[in-house]
Symmetry: C2
Subunit: 265 residues, 2 copies
């Protein structure tokens, strides 16, 4: 691949510019093209698709060398993508990659994830995108297997200039050899059930820390991301940004007719 | 309806407890049941499905009378719902209502909206829910038509104990008479295109304010929410929390087989 034809890849995450996960995937992505990193200055985990509208945003270039430029942004993961598209890049990047996230973004966790929000924001703008996460929340998580499988997946997408996808990729915790392969499936129906921890501060005021545990409503569904991860597979879920419950649009059409009657009341 | 059988309704929003929108719908919702309001202390617009995990949450009861209790929460709209379910209510509420939001949450705006995130969070927990928004961002927006149509919609849902829905309801700006009726449809394919406003602070540091304009990729699609609103109809979109692009799961199955080959490399 000649330099002229190298794709431009934008990389973001939600754990922040200093996280081990994002820095683990930089060398791999540089093999595929020119890499622009725009990541949050501070962790933005669980900030979902939030954007910053009440405060100004700051952007700072912190590193520049042939094929790699890094910026930090004061905002959320979605702010990073928007800033890159508007204030850094002269044209849309060929791909947006997000992660590697410290912790799973499979099943319902996708809705809370800033990492996946960055990928989905790119998708809304028509840019093929992919978010990577490993099922390990620790700051010092091992990203060896994640990078290994990221290469396998990206090898099938970038050299052939595949487009039109937005993938939520989750990698089990463990060594490369402990992982059985890849499953392409769907988001498991699930929820996080909270169990706030109530404490009292020195001024005798109660406060709460949000904690919770994950519930899969369909643990035996073999076509889901959570099943894949629990059974030692990398999970790929193609995602989209349409919230419509299409099967219900017809079901609730009667709400229209009822209303047409009201004007004659 | 006897008092004993009155449903419990949880109300939240993203404009905060003092917004005109949430206070406009309280009298209406009290007609249907016992109302618990748990709303953010400060505005949480565009905070999407963000949850607060790096800071503790505070919750304060600020009002109590027969059939109406109000709390403020220091967190996001989704935090409010989680707090209500875990630390206020002894059992799940019968309905969760969110809004009335100052500004549209139709089309792609649903993904940024804290108001809709509160409704969707309820839906994830199996609680029927509905978010109301009016296409008017002003603090002093007129909610007369919104409340009028909210009544028409809720009259068809709550007395008959309808369940299984999560609705994104948007009401055009204007008087009741200027609105032609209700359309049940789908989310329009669309995006917000940003145009950051760059400024320089007194310390000569550049900063950016996020602004943007809305683009509908299918302006003539009559079955979409944006079409309904532009043509003087209230829009109802049934929503869900599944991000899977189901039509692509089969399309990308080949990523599985390619990987199975890798182990023999």
């Amino acid at each position: 691949m000649s330099d002229i034809k190298k794709p431009t890849i934008l990389l973001s995450n939600d754990d922040g510019i200093h996280a081990k996960g994002i820095n683990s995937i930089i060398p791999l992505l540089r093999e595929y093209g020119n890499l622009i990193v725009v990541a949050p200055e501070q962790g933005q985990s669980a900030q979902s698709h939030a954007i910053t509208i009440k405060e100004p945003l700051f952007l700072k270039k912190i590193h520049e060398e042939e094929g790699l430029t890094k910026y930090v942004c004061s905002g959320t993961s979605v702010d990073c993508v928007k800033m890159a598209l508007n204030n850094i890049l002269s044209e849309k990047p060929d791909y947006v990659v997000s992660g590697i996230n410290h912790g799973t973004n499979a099943a319902i966790s996708v809705i809370y994830s800033g990492t996946m929000a960055a990928a989905i924001e790119a998708h809304i703008h028509g840019i093929p995108s992919i978010g990577f996460s490993v099922v390990d929340y620790s700051e010092d998580a091992d990203f060896t297997a994640s990078v290994h499988f990221a290469r396998i997946i990206l090898d099938q997408l970038i050299p052939s200039r595949e487009s039109g996808f937005c993938f939520n990729v989750n990698v089990p915790k463990g060594s490369i050899d402990s992982i059985h392969g890849i499953k392409v499936g769907r988001q498991a129906r699930s929820s996080w059930v909270e169990s706030f921890e109530k404490r009292t501060n020195p001024a005798k005021k109660d406060y709460y820390w949000l904690t919770g545990h994950f519930i899969n409503f369909e643990p035996d569904a073999v076509d889901t991301d959570d099943w894949a991860l629990r059974n030692g597979y990398v999970s790929i879920v193609p995602v989209q940004a349409d919230f419509t419950a299409h099967h219900q649009v017809t079901e609730y059409k009667h709400l229209e007719t009822k209303v047409l009657n009201h004007s004659s009341k």
